[in-house]
């Protein structure tokens, strides 16, 4: 007996967001990238309904992250001191679709770098690579409000993805992102309602919904991944149901979260298998799982994990 084709049809879809601007559109990127566009859940419909291929944004930091575990750091030790070389390596050797410039170094508890340091790193990376950029603050509201507007200005018209804005700190960055023609990341603490509220707040300021990508705190495998999964699934279903305030593509921070897991980095645990493999597996497993919930951009760190995930994406999309 032949099984009938059952296909669920949705009225809504995930917004398409184009990142990066080439010289023709006032930027300096070699190419642009588009995310979103799904009209169904993963595996839920035909190939045309899958939307754009998810993208991998590899993390580049603005300072030397000495705390990185050995088996992650060993791939970057030669470029740690120079963010532009780091970005080049990610694009040329590891095949990053996007570079996520994470300004961890501006955090007062870390290197406490200032706005001019951040702008310098940004312009160097911008020159070094041709892919679109994601520009990500340090998470300290006060410092981000000082530094990120300068970073935004320095990348004006490059159509970057800049963030993040939160429920209680969204005005400054939203205003500059609007003025400098960037796309915006709205962040919420693993709460779908607050996620939607930030989108409404930002859109109340006149920021176009079609230029927003949403971020919910990511949980790694064993550390709350199922929460991230279910929230992203709910968001995808809301988008497909036609909720305009929830129709944005989703970004996840898998790299940072996976490498916080002790399972990813603990060397002295013979029963757990070789630590050299364990870390990348942890990162890739988290990424692949979340991709199936409906993630559009994944921030990653380990080249081996990136290769695995790319392989998965190419087989599915």
């Amino acid at each position: 007996m032949q099984l009938p084709e059952i296909e669920e049809i949705f009225t809504g879809s995930v917004n398409r967001v184009e990142l990066g601007a080439t010289r023709d559109s006032g930027g300096t990127r070699d190419s642009t990238a588009t995310v979103g566009g799904a009209r169904n859940v993963i595996y839920g419909g035909s190939a045309e309904q899958m939307g754009e291929k998810p993208l991998i944004a590899m993390d580049v930091l603005d300072y030397n992250p000495e705390y990185w575990p050995e088996h992650l750091a060993e791939h970057y030790r030669d470029v740690f001191k120079n963010s532009s070389d780091w970005a080049k390596k990610c694009v040329n050797e590891f095949g990053a679709d996007l570079i996520c410039l994470k300004f961890e170094g501006i955090h007062p508890d870390k290197a406490n770098k200032n706005a001019s340091d951040a702008v310098k790193v940004t312009t160097e990376v911008l020159k070094a690579v041709g892919v679109p950029l994601v520009l990500w603050g340090c998470g300290n509201d006060e410092k981000d409000n000082q530094v990120m507007p300068k970073v935004s200005e320095a990348t004006k018209n490059e159509n970057c993805l800049i963030g993040t804005v939160k429920e209680d700190n969204y005005k400054a960055l939203t205003a500059v992102a609007l003025a400098d023609n960037h796309n915006l990341i709205t962040e919420a603490p693993l709460d779908i309602n607050i996620g939607k509220q930030v989108n409404i707040l930002v859109s109340d300021m006149g920021f176009p919904l079609e230029r927003i990508v949403t971020f919910q705190d990511t949980g790694a495998l064993g550390y709350g991944m199922e929460y991230s999964y279910s929230i992203q699934e709910r968001q995808r279903l809301a988008a497909l149901g036609g909720d305009k305030m929830m129709s944005m593509p989703v970004i996840c921070d898998v790299g940072y979260e996976s490498w916080r897991a002790k399972e990813a980095k603990l060397a002295d645990a013979p029963g757990w298998g070789d630590v050299k493999d364990r870390g990348p597996i942890w990162e890739a497993a988290t990424a692949i799982c979340l991709l199936q919930a409906g993630t559009d951009i994944i921030r990653m760190r380990h080249p081996k994990a990136v290769a695995t995930v790319k392989n998965f994406i190419n087989q599915i999309w």
Binding site: N193, K196, Q197, S203, D204
Partner: protein, 639 residues
């Protein structure tokens, strides 16, 4: 020091001049309590609400330092009463903001609202058939041919007038019966009361006292106790009076009071407070109306479950513990004197039935008054007090739930919040996006904001873009937006002529939004659970201690109530007392109240997995799902 320990000190409270003797070392809050002086205290004396400020005029005291006092206040000898110990004879001034001069205002307004509601819902609905009545009974005296005993003679005479299949008479009445009947020449005034299906002969008096019969209806609120004196012969309210619940000294919400009572075994003390309040109200009205207490033959009470427990000195401790069960829901009629309520010695005390630990008889009274149980179409009844209780239903079914909305809309826990009394801002408008206009109760200089004013404030700040949808004050260069001692605040009224400024703080706004979110989330849970759609709702009645007047549309603007057309919204004031009064005047009404209480299905929100989700969605102005508030778009231009 040892000498001082047992020393008696006299504390005199101004402006009332009331004095009280307390042992040295007693806190001023305790002293005020002993003196019967009300001091606002939300935290019940733990020193963190900062409401019990008083001024030390003379004498020695010792205060623990508190961050809740400004340097100016400390220089001005202002202290927190709960953190200050009496060391010598003292004179203390209680600031006006504590004072109790609200009763008149509340009464006038409530009467007004009630009469409006009465016209619509009460008149002619229940036949006049009071729970306690006086009958003029005339019997033919016994003869050799008619030697029926006096007692049976009386029963026969009563049954000629009313249908009373089962009757009983108290022993004390029986003992005096023969003499009274003979002295009155067999023309007697008989007071009879209904105790379920039984008719009790409460009192037999000489016939001339037939014409006078009074009763009192009481609303036992956590914050305010309201009483109406009712002439039972005409079923008219002839006087009304209200007072603060003096249990307030033990905490502003009843959970805190239960904890206090448990920790210090003070159940008797808490009962005494409440009974004293009720007695004071009855006495005030009786004196004013020249009514003899002996002629008041019944009291009927409605109130939240905990208050009814306190009044009857029933164990309320299970109310706050899982699985949250009350000692009693349907209280049988008892002798009022047994609780200490002073009316006719043999007068009866009735309590309207409650539904659950968190749905009290005040809510049953509300349903009775708004008549939502008689309508084919669905209505919602919302009572905003310390808890927000919601009832949804029609003639076929009723569901209810209680959300811990908090007392913000009663003015509690709000920096400049106060109850609806003289000087409270009761309505507020922002004109031309800038100028603030307001009205105070009594028309004087504003000293605080009551519930209706707070609702207006929140709504106007939102509509005029001074706060965003999360309630955050927007830094837009407005000089009224300042960093105050309690964080960011927006000034509503400038300080003038020695009056302090009135401002709303970011914390106040967050508090109000939490409160409204609790109410709306509860409404959503009830609607979702019963698959009720917005268009199915025919009417929304809102009751509670907001004040005299409520711009109900604004409750929709902020997303506290669902977005239904203005014509479907009605502010109904204090429905608790209205329902109590109706039940007093008609046995049928009391039976109906019992049926309502029995048929209401209680939805526990604490155990509902969707509640938190709905709550977070509602913690946004007006709501995260903007499609639920289509009319809000017309109010507020989209950016």
């Amino acid at each position: 020091m040892d000498d001082n320990k047992n020393k008696e000190c006299t504390v005199q409270f101004e402006p009332s001049g009331i004095k009280v003797k307390v042992p040295s070392g007693t806190t001023l809050l305790e002293a005020a309590h002993r003196a019967g002086i009300y001091l606002s205290s939300i935290c019940g004396g733990d020193g963190y609400c900062g409401k019990c400020k008083v001024i030390i005029n003379e004498g020695r005291s010792q205060s623990r330092p508190s961050p809740l006092l400004t340097p100016e206040e400390i220089r001005g000898n202002i202290v927190l009463a709960c953190q200050t110990k009496v060391l010598s004879d003292l004179t203390v001034t209680v600031p006006k903001s504590h004072s109790l001069d609200t009763s008149q205002v509340l009464m006038d307004a409530d009467t007004h609202i009630l009469s409006r509601l009465n016209k619509q819902t009460q008149e002619g609905l229940f036949e006049y058939d009071p729970l306690v009545r006086k009958l003029c009974v005339e019997m033919s005296p016994p003869t050799v041919l008619d030697h029926t005993a006096d007692h049976e003679r009386l029963y026969a005479a009563i049954r000629r007038q009313i249908d009373a299949p089962i009757m009983q008479t108290g022993f004390r009445v029986l003992q005096k019966l023969t003499n009274v009947l003979r002295e009155a020449n067999y023309k007697a005034a008989v007071t009879i009361g209904q105790r379920g299906g039984t008719t009790e002969v409460i009192q037999v008096e000489p016939g001339r006292r037939c014409k006078t019969n009074y009763a009192v209806a009481v609303d036992l609120g956590t914050t305010t106790v309201v009483a109406h004196l009712i002439d039972l012969t005409t079923a008219k309210t002839i006087d009304a009076e209200s007072t603060y619940n003096s249990q307030m000294n033990f905490g502003e919400d009843y959970i805190r009071r239960i904890i206090y009572a448990e920790q210090t075994d003070a159940f008797d003390q808490l009962q005494e407070c409440l009974v004293d309040d009720v007695n004071d109200l009855i006495m005030t009205m009786a004196v004013r109306q020249k009514v003899d207490l002996e002629d008041i033959t019944a009291v009927i009470c409605a109130g939240n479950t905990a208050m009814v427990h306190f009044l009857l000195n029933l164990d309320p401790t299970r109310i706050r513990r899982e699985p949250y069960v009350a000692s009693v829901g349907f209280v049988p009629p008892i002798r009022a004197a047994e609780t200490g309520v002073q009316i006719n010695k043999r007068g009866l005390l009735y309590c309207l039935p409650s539904v659950a630990a968190y749905i009290g008889s005040d809510i049953v009274a509300g349903v009775l008054t708004t008549r939502i149980y008689t309508k084919e179409k669905l209505s919602i009844f919302v009572d905003i007090g310390t808890n927000g209780e919601i009832v949804l239903g029609n003639e076929d079914w009723l569901v209810c739930s209680s959300s811990s909305a908090g007392p913000a809309f009663e003015g509690s826990g709000i920096k400049c919040g106060m109850r609806a009394g003289a000087g409270a801002i009761e309505s507020l408008n922002i004109v031309n996006g800038d100028e603030i206009r307001f009205k105070t109760i009594g028309g004087g200089h504003p000293i605080g904001i009551c519930g209706s004013g707070l609702l207006d404030t929140l709504s106007e700040l939102f509509v005029n873009d001074i706060i965003d949808r999360t309630g955050h004050l927007k830094a837009n260069g407005d000089s009224r937006l300042t960093e105050g001692e309690d964080g960011l605040q927006f000034q509503l009224v400038e300080p003038r002529n020695g009056h302090q400024e009135i401002a709303i703080t970011q914390a106040d706004i967050n508090n109000l939004i939490r409160s409204k979110a609790g109410v709306f989330a509860a409404i959503r849970i009830l609607m979702n659970s019963t698959q009720t759609k917005l268009e199915d709702i025919d009417a929304i009645y809102i009751a509670g201690g907001f004040g005299n007047f409520l711009n109900v549309q604004r409750a929709v603007t902020i997303g506290m109530l669902p977005d239904v057309p203005r014509t479907k919204l009605q502010f109904v004031g204090n429905t608790s007392i209205a329902g109590a009064k109706t039940s007093l005047c008609s046995q049928k009404a009391l039976e109906t109240a019992e049926r309502i209480a029995e048929s209401m299905t209680y939805f526990d929100l604490m155990g509902n997995p969707d509640y938190m989700d709905e709550f977070i969605k509602a913690k946004f102005l007006p709501h995260t799902d903007l499609s639920l508030f289509p009319s809000e778009r017309n109010l507020k231009p989209q950016a």
